[in-house]
């Protein structure tokens, strides 16, 4: 084990000490290591380059809430080893649903119901029909994007209750806007759900080993339905917040949310194969991305370049999955050493 580590990262041994191996143990046990590392690096650099990111923290928090909310719901699904690619379209669609209904309260209820219904349909195709969740939710992504266009006549829908929208953008509690408060509430609720509630804890079992979960008497199908409904509901919530803040629903809303929310969850150490990860990890991932985005925007970096940076971070995060990295590095070495004789081990 030690030999292998020396092979892979000789640089680390220059700082060799007992404390370091202790750290390694912690990092090996927890999957949030990369998120913490990214957060530290990003915070340190931003603190030097653009300290305003931290002094005007309500802007940064607002950004974090924007990226993080959808990612929180997504985490529930990924914990079970499934994916929900429809989150961004759900956001756009539910926003349009809400804005097309004149009564504000009714609109919000309809949007949330739409989110739940989308979750149920996704789970139906995954659980009952037996399609892979990547493909089922990908089809849903296109379908809902189209539906949002149809419902809105391909142009932004103005919110009738404009005053409510304007009030929603104002700080409610100290410097905190309702968006940030809702984000904190959603974070607390989901964190409690997956760590303290039996049904939530069973998400880990479903993702870790589905057959064992089934044998242990866990209602696997119902848990997957719950997971997709959480994801749909949270995405709809994000759509409502977006619509309120902009006082209009844009059918193309959330096009960058898909990338950012997946990046937050995957950087946060939620394994795509399921069973490992945490809501806190996703929060840290979202925080590092939020600080990075605000920092880049304040330094005048174009949106295109920001997309490149976030895309690159997601790419690096997904290929350095902590659970398989060691085996993969072994594979990569074998692959480079000898062309056709290489016998990669299990990843």
């Amino acid at each position: 084990m030690t030999d292998q580590q020396q092979d892979t990262a000789p640089g680390l041994d220059l700082v060799s000490s007992e404390g370091l191996s202790q750290w390694r143990k912690v990092l090996a046990r927890r999957t949030e290591g990369r998120a913490v590392a990214l957060l530290v690096i990003v915070s340190a650099v931003t603190l030097v380059m653009e300290p305003i990111v931290f002094t005007s923290y309500e802007v940064t928090l607002g950004r974090l809430a924007l990226i993080g909310l959808v990612a929180l719901g997504l985490t529930a699904v990924i914990l079970m080893g499934e994916l929900d690619l429809a989150v961004a379209s759900t956001l756009a669609f539910s926003g349009v649903v809400m804005a097309s209904i004149d009564n504000l309260a009714l609109g919000i209820l309809a949007a949330l119901a739409a989110g739940l219904l989308i979750g149920v349909v996704n789970a139906f195709f995954v659980v009952v029909v037996g399609i892979n969740s990547f493909i089922a939710t990908l089809g849903m992504l296109f379908f809902l994007r189209g539906a949002a266009f149809v419902l809105s006549n391909e142009e932004p829908v103005r919110l009738v209750a404009r005053d409510a929208g304007i009030a929603f953008g104002r700080p409610l509690l100290g410097p905190l806007t309702p968006r940030i408060l809702i984000f904190i509430a959603a974070f607390a609720a989901l964190q409690l759900f997956v760590t303290r509630v039996r049904a939530g804890r069973e998400f880990y079992a479903v993702g870790g080993n589905r057959e064992a979960a089934y044998d242990a008497g866990i209602p696997v199908r119902r848990r997957i339905f719950t997971g997709f409904m959480i994801s749909g509901f949270v995405s709809a919530l994000a759509g409502i917040i977006n619509t309120l803040e902009r006082t209009a629903a844009d059918p193309t809303a959330g096009s960058t949310v898909l990338l950012a929310s997946f990046a937050a969850a995957i950087i946060g150490g939620v394994l795509l194969t399921g069973g490992r990860g945490s809501i806190v990890g996703t929060l840290i991932g979202a925080a590092s991305l939020g600080i990075l985005q605000v920092g880049l925007t304040l330094s005048g970096v174009q949106v295109d370049v920001q997309n490149i940076v976030i895309g690159a971070i997601l790419f690096i995060a997904v290929i350095t999955d902590p659970s398989t990295l060691r085996a993969v590095l072994g594979n990569a070495r074998a692959f480079l050493r000898s062309g056709s004789e290489a016998q990669p081990q299990t990843g």
Binding site: G130, G139, L151, Y214, N307, I308, A312, I319, P344
Partner: protein
């Protein structure tokens, strides 16, 4: 998903089928609708659709319209037949064709405008395509990362670079260059780009069915562990599939640029799911291991005729996207249900 759901039932079924093996031959001859539809349905669907279009939709059966269908089918078809390799290798799909098609189109027109050499522009685009294929392939094949997320991130990186470099501007080709001539060239009612599509389909069909690489792609798609244990360097199989997909997207971008004689960074929008729709409606399985390039060609005909019908009937972009999204889910559901029915 069904296997972990009801392991006891599945196991019993497996045992039961194993015991009744002598009767298996008779069972094969028994007609089952779902597996038949999933396997052969595409021919029926396409014929019905074309018949319906010819009879009920005004303006479909005109020469100008059919040439237009071919013109639009060619780039999407080239992208789809090449992406079929990724799907058969059980890596879901290659979302990065969106970025690759646009990059190839812009590179072809912009570089040939500035250097005056089309060959140079094509070489530059080929270099970019190889980078795309290698990056996606190494991430998925060597690092065992999820193909959807990898290609999602490379799409954003690629489109970001393209928009940043091009500033989002539209590039126009010269009015009398070779690119324009290719875009306008016809063989009877068929645009020359259709010939390119057919040649590429035949070539890729040969690669998939007659070469060791093609065999390994199918084998890897149906059983990764077994393929690896057989001593195959599976990383090269995955890299190969993604390189083919990237080069296909590049040629699709060339054809698209030649057809319109313009190029812009939004050129590739929609190519990911239109190509996926063509692949799955053709009967290639997203579960991997099963499928063919010729099936995808049929799927392309279906999707192109359907899109044309929707445009002729005045359906908006939103409804078109809804229809194609529903089509993907329906085709994959049919495949999944057929598997269940076939296994029972």
């Amino acid at each position: 998903m069904s296997a972990p759901e009801q392991p006891p039932v599945e196991t019993q079924d497996a045992v039961a089928t194993a015991l009744e093996e002598p009767a298996g031959l008779e069972q094969e001859q028994e007609f089952k609708l779902l597996p038949w539809l999933a396997d052969r349905g595409i021919v029926l669907f396409t014929l019905v659709l074309i018949l319906f279009a010819a009879v009920f939709v005004d303006g479909f059966a005109s020469l100008a319209n059919i040439t237009d269908v071919f013109n639009r089918a060619a780039p999407i078809g080239i992208v789809a037949v090449a992406m079929t390799f990724v799907v058969i290798s059980a890596n879901y799909l290659d979302l990065s064709v969106v970025a690759m098609v646009a990059t190839a189109a812009v590179t072809l027109i912009a570089v040939s405008n500035s250097t005056g050499s089309i060959a140079m522009a094509m070489l530059a685009a080929l270099g970019i395509a190889l980078v795309y294929g290698l990056v996606n392939g190494v991430a998925v094949g060597v690092f065992k990362a999820n193909a959807v997320i990898v290609t999602l991130s490379t799409t954003f990186i690629g489109l970001g670079i393209l928009r940043w470099a091009s500033g989002g501007s539209i590039y126009f080709g010269p009015q009398d260059g070779a690119i324009r001539e290719f875009g306008l060239a016809k063989l009877g009612p068929f645009p020359l780009s259709m010939l390119v599509l057919i040649l590429i389909t035949l070539l890729l069909s040969y690669v998939l069915t007659r070469t060791t690489f093609g065999f390994l792609v199918k084998s890897y798609g149906s059983n990764r562990a077994a393929t690896r244990l057989a001593g195959v360097n599976t990383a090269w199989v995955v890299i190969g599939a993604f390189v083919i997909s990237a080069i296909g997207a590049m040629i699709g971008g060339f054809v698209l640029a030649a057809f319109s004689n313009t190029a812009v960074s939004t050129n590739g929008t929609g190519y990911d799911f239109r190509a996926l729709a063509a692949i799955v409606i053709g009967g290639t399985s997203v579960f991997g291991g099963k499928g063919s390039v010729l099936r995808t060609l049929l799927g392309v005909v279906f999707v192109s005729v359907l899109t044309n019908l929707m445009v002729l009937s005045g359906l908006g972009f939103g409804l078109q996207q809804m229809a194609i999204g529903a089509l993907i889910v329906a085709a994959v559901s049919l495949d999944a249900l057929a598997r269940k029915a076939g296994a029972a």
